[in-house]
Symmetry: C2
Subunit: 333 residues, 2 copies
């Protein structure tokens, strides 16, 4: 039995979560039972979906339960193993984050190689957000070389890879992000052809300038105002990849009043959740791991140190704060 720390849900938030909604507590961590591992986590993931799980909704991934620990992506080192295939000292990616120590079923973890991209990359470009970008663009969006692509939340963990992959496919890629600094980063570091600042107003007008020939694929992380603009700018047969709708997570989403164009423009609007596509992980890691090693893909992390700051980090993410790339919490011993 070791003593660790974990975040628990105390009550369901209304709007942005506040400190009383979740709490960091000490926890006694039992040893692993047969088929299990005890993992000392090094990095915890911070993702927009964590906010959604605080609501009591069905038919998405399961909601967090009041009085119980939160969970999410994490990477760490195996301290004790009751599974013959995974030795003590191995590094694994698993889904019981928001805590310093995790007891996980060995069948649910991925053993990872920290030499490729660094350990925290398995929470970002080589992990769930990276696979989300890859599946969304290719499997859901059916991207074809030379098309015109718009990626919203372009500097986030998902958007930054989606945009770069589309560029590597010979596409014209436009991003959107909140603030001038993020937009410069998208163009200068990530290679987007253009990026519009949705905080500067007149989203449709700004987009029309940088998308004079409309768009063929829209990778949606925002919903509401952005989905509406995408329908306006879509070319016939455009695919709208519905990855997330962060605009509606804490506030009411802006109305989408141009849905009639779905018929006339023959649009495909398709939602997906990455967990249904986990079988693609090996192929994705081979592809993107190679691009990362060769330098064809640029990857940034923002690291917040200390498990006590994970709620603040989530709020930063939800408010579109100043981080760039993947946001992780360093909880190393």
């Amino acid at each position: 039995m070791v003593t660790g720390q974990q975040w628990e849900l105390r009550r369901r938030p209304s709007g942005y979560p506040v400190p009383g909604d979740v709490a960091l507590v000490e926890a006694q961590v039992p040893g692993p039972r047969p088929g299990q591992l005890l993992v000392r986590n090094h990095y915890l993931s911070v993702d927009p979906s964590h906010r959604g799980r605080m609501n009591d909704v069905k038919s998405y991934t399961p909601a967090y339960q009041i009085g119980q620990a939160l969970w999410g992506g994490a990477v760490g080192e195996v301290l004790a193993s009751e599974d013959a295939r995974i030795p003590v000292g191995a590094f694994v990616q698993h889904n019981l984050g928001w805590r310093t120590h995790s007891v996980v079923d060995a069948s649910t973890v991925d053993v990872v190689d920290p030499a490729v991209g660094g350990l925290a990359a398995y929470l970002g470009v080589l992990g769930m957000p990276g696979l989300t970008a890859w599946v969304g663009l290719y499997d859901i969006g059916q991207l074809r070389p030379g098309e015109v692509v718009w990626v919203s939340a372009a500097t986030g963990a998902v958007g930054s890879l989606a945009g770069q992959l589309a560029r590597l496919a010979g596409c014209r890629v436009v991003g959107s992000a909140g603030g001038d600094e993020k937009c410069r980063y998208a163009v200068e570091q990530l290679g987007f052809d253009a990026c519009v600042d949705h905080r500067a107003g007149d989203l449709n007008g700004q987009l029309r300038e940088v998308l004079p020939d409309g768009l063929d694929v829209y990778f949606d992380n925002v919903g509401g105002s952005h989905l509406r603009a995408a329908i306006d700018l879509a070319n016939p047969f455009a695919r709208l990849v519905e990855c997330g709708m962060i605009e509606g997570y804490n506030e009411a989403m802006q109305p989408v009043d141009n849905l009639a164009s779905i018929v006339g423009k023959k649009l495909s609007i398709r939602g997906f959740v990455v967990w249904d596509h986990w079988s693609r992980l090996a192929l994705f890691r081979k592809h993107v791991g190679g691009l990362l090693t060769s330098g064809a893909v640029h990857y940034d992390e923002t690291v917040v140190v200390g498990i006590e700051h994970q709620l603040d980090a989530l709020l930063t993410l939800l408010r579109g704060g100043g981080h760039r790339g993947k946001l992780v919490v360093d909880v190393r011993p």
Copy 2:
């Protein structure tokens, strides 16, 4: 040169069209040039899409032009031919309706066999609306046997076939329509498992009763309130076939405020226009022609006599009036 009659657009309607918006006029019809046919029309089609073409919108089928004749589906007999493959006396389906006589390019017509289903059927169950139902259900909706299907505008030219085809695929099929009489017709004549009357109010509540296990495919002819209900009732991975949104053709469509579920439920919402799928016509006609001949598919027409009544017929259609099945105008000599 023969003298015929045709409907012309005088000004673009606002809301429901009124008599001054379109006008029936005499027209001098020239003889066919090389590669053309002169057709004496027997039946003219009345379709919801005719209203949309009165607006000046781009990226759908071309809009009607002010001062020019309307057009739409028609079947008739060839009076004069300048094409070696199509003789005088043949029956053809073409797209220059809203007139008694049409001069058409022979390459754009389909020669039809009035012995199968009757000539007007090529405007309905064996024509554009039938192909729309067939493509929408199979190619767009990817219908699988045993799924649960909701078809709106269930008694219309498209919906009535879509529902019957889904039933023949072993699906549970629920319809919606305006008024108790239509609903009885859907269940008793068309074989729907249930049909809800959207004029009776509480659409979602009514649907929840007849769809206790949710829905897998929604065939949308209405949009707005109906699309919203479909998203509410959709099972994970449901497909929403966006064929038409008649709710918004003349009045403002009701808002769809539950779009966030597209992501969590992993929905596919896909618009289509039948003209992109015309290559499927022969296979469709073989399939549905056989079902019609064997009696496996029930087909009704409502026939309005006299070209002077075509605008009234369109208004009946747009207001969801008392007709059943395909609405056509008989303009035989």
